[in-house]
């Protein structure tokens, strides 16, 4: 019995990473919260949980694509803030909404090209991108304000057939990501590239005839676009643009991905794991809010979890 459980939890023979354990943790957290506080299970709080967790789920899924190839995108938080600022520019929704995705794709393209063509470490490339975007966002919208197009607000607050709209956002995001990762050759190629990076043979996937540079660039574009999607969602929730709304979001996203069993060294991980990881983070935040934990303590706890999760992952390389 014990051996069987262990085998279920082990990651050997699979490239999905350890996702069952976090699922158990998520379930445990949910049960514990519903026993501890009456508010947890009421409809309002559950909707709140979904709505609050959704941006993180979306961003984490995007981040996962980049982490699977052994990269990292530290610019997603600033993409989110930037997106809300652009949406609050007081223009027609028909221009602004496609506009933010075009801009996000361009940002991802820049990240990817700088990394693959100019040989810059992903962390440095995306870190500097973060600062460039922060600056531009502050110019567009120095403090929070403005109003976003009505359609954006409506898309996150209403419900359809009695189901709150945020749930559809979740389903749609996961479906798109599923298709990209498991329903195409592209997804398999991402795993291949990451597997090469993790085992120290960066050229391995290339030698198989995979267009690795193009796929890497595409992963960064996907990551940015998912961040923009999270930005649209958040903009709808707060109804305005906010230059600080995405602050530290990149770290939350990385934490969620890592909790879900995806290895930061690349090549091992899963979509369901990432969703579970984001769920754990959302439940934790929800529980801490219900228990009136100071937001500063919440920041500390999230930092500690990130430290704990990444230090449990072993890797060969030292440094960055």
């Amino acid at each position: 019995m014990k051996a069987d459980t262990l085998r279920l939890l082990s990651t050997k023979g699979s490239r999905q990473g350890m996702w069952l354990l976090p699922l158990l943790i998520a379930l445990g957290l949910a049960i514990w919260l519903s026993v501890q506080t009456q508010q947890f299970l009421n409809a309002g709080n559950l909707l709140n949980l979904v709505a609050q967790g959704m941006p993180l789920i979306i961003t984490a899924i995007g981040q996962m694509f980049v982490i699977l190839i052994g990269g990292l995108d530290l610019s997603v938080g600033s993409v989110i803030s930037f997106t809300t600022a652009v949406l609050a520019l007081d223009g027609p929704g028909i221009v602004l909404i496609p506009g933010v995705f075009v801009l996000a794709a361009l940002i991802g393209l820049c990240n990817g090209v700088i990394i693959t063509r100019f040989n810059v470490h992903p962390i440095i490339a995306t870190l500097s991108m973060q600062y460039v975007l922060l600056g531009i966002t502050r110019v567009l919208r120095p403090v929070s304000g403005g109003t976003v197009p009505d359609v954006v607000i409506a898309s996150v607050s209403g419900s359809f057939l009695g189901v709150p709209l945020p749930v559809f956002w979740g389903i749609a995001t996961i479906a798109v990501a599923w298709k990209l990762l498991y329903g195409s050759r592209f997804g398999l190629h991402l795993f291949a590239i990451g597997g090469g990076v993790a085992s120290g043979t960066e050229d391995a996937a290339h030698n198989f005839g995979i267009r690795d540079r193009r796929n890497i660039v595409l992963a960064y574009v996907i990551c940015s676009c998912f961040a923009a999607l999270a930005g649209v969602f958040l903009a709808g929730r707060i109804v305005s643009g906010d230059p600080n709304v995405g602050l530290l979001f990149e770290l939350d996203a990385i934490t969620a991905v890592a909790i879900g069993g995806t290895q930061l060294s690349g090549g091992v991980g899963s979509l369901h794991g990432t969703v579970v990881g984001a769920l754990v983070m959302a439940l934790l935040a929800n529980g801490m809010n219900l228990a009136n934990v100071s937001p500063f303590i919440q920041t500390m706890i999230k930092g500690a979890i990130l430290l704990l999760v990444v230090s449990l992952q072993s890797r060969k390389k030292m440094g960055l």
């Binding site: 303590i297 990444v310 230090s311």
Partner: protein, 317 residues
């Protein structure tokens, strides 16, 4: 392109860290556009402002030479600033605060070093997480409000001058000189060069790689502690935002100075001039009325361009 790169003069010019070019360029810009700002008093004030950054850079260049990075300096500075300005230790002497600051710095550095060197966790993530934990801690203690006044003895020392030069600037130069001596004269300096060039080969030639990385992080923490003291002295009132942008500026100045993840061509003085370039950049931006957001964009672009400069140069084919 290939012809140009084969040209030895061009290659030698490319070896000079961009910091020196940027420094000269910015001096020229100032000289043409705002010649009246080019006097020792104005520049002295701006250079004094970047002294904490300069001291933080001394530690940053060390960890970056062993292919690591330290982004926890912001949290360290904030915590030490809080300890000094909040009145948590009423009536404590200067010596007590200095020891406390160094102890905090070394402690955080040791933690970073063990996580990076022994556990092999990504340095960016460790030091960022440590930073947000420290920032959260300080904000919790202070409930997000500015803590209080910095004891006047700090500001008094900060405002002294030795001849025409402000003491903090001299202190920064002295520390840089000490690090230069340390790296060029001790066995540790050779270990750093070996690990940065090729950690695997360093290991096989008998270099204690893990210990070197840990020690580099401890020293980086120590310098963050010293930078925190100088930064605290530079402001009369405590703050919950002080120093948060310093780590990224330190990375930018270090890269600009020619020290990029393993490459140590810039030595200690390249990054030193990287910091001076930032001082001049602030002068220029102030002179042209460019605000905070412009500075953020400039920081990002400088890191990016400098990194691309090295990336292109190191490309094999």
């Amino acid at each position: 392109m290939a012809v140009a790169l084969d040209n030895s003069t061009v290659r030698r010019l490319l070896r000079i860290p961009p910091a020196y070019y940027v420094f000269v360029l910015l001096l020229l810009v100032l000289w043409i556009a705002r010649p009246h700002m080019l006097n020792l008093n104005v520049l002295g004030i701006f250079v004094r402002q970047v002294a904490p950054l300069g001291i933080l850079v001394i530690g940053q260049l060390l960890v970056m030479r062993v292919k690591s990075i330290d982004l926890s300096g912001g949290g360290v500075i904030l915590l030490i600033n809080y300890c000094i300005s909040s009145g948590t230790f009423p009536g404590a002497s200067m010596g007590f605060f200095v020891v406390l600051a160094l102890a905090i710095g070394i402690g955080v550095g040791l933690f970073n070093g063990l996580m990076v060197g022994k556990r092999r966790v990504s340095a960016v993530i460790v030091t960022l997480a440590v930073s947000i934990i420290l920032v959260g801690f300080v904000q919790y203690l202070s409930s997000g409000k500015p803590p209080g006044d910095v004891p006047s003895m700090f500001t008094d020392i900060y405002n002294t001058k030795l001849g025409p030069l402000p003491t903090p600037v001299l202190f920064w130069v002295a520390l840089s000189f000490a690090m230069w001596l340390f790296l060029s004269r001790t066995v540790f300096g050779r270990f750093v060069a070996s690990v940065g060039e090729n950690a695997q080969a360093a290991h096989f030639s008998g270099v204690p790689v893990e210990r070197t990385v840990v020690l580099a992080h401890v020293l980086a923490g120590l310098f963050a502690g010293i930078a925190a003291l100088v930064q605290t002295a530079s402001i009369a009132v405590g703050s919950v935002r002080v120093g948060l942008d310093l780590p990224i500026l330190a990375v930018a100045a270090t890269i600009l100075g020619g020290v990029v993840f393993g490459r140590g061509e810039g030595g200690v003085w390249g990054p030193f001039f990287g910091v001076l370039s930032f001082a001049l950049l602030f002068v220029v931006m102030t002179a042209f009325g460019i605000g905070e957001s412009g500075k953020l964009v400039a920081q990002g672009l400088i890191i990016l361009l400098a990194a691309i400069f090295y990336g292109l140069r190191s490309q094999r084919h």
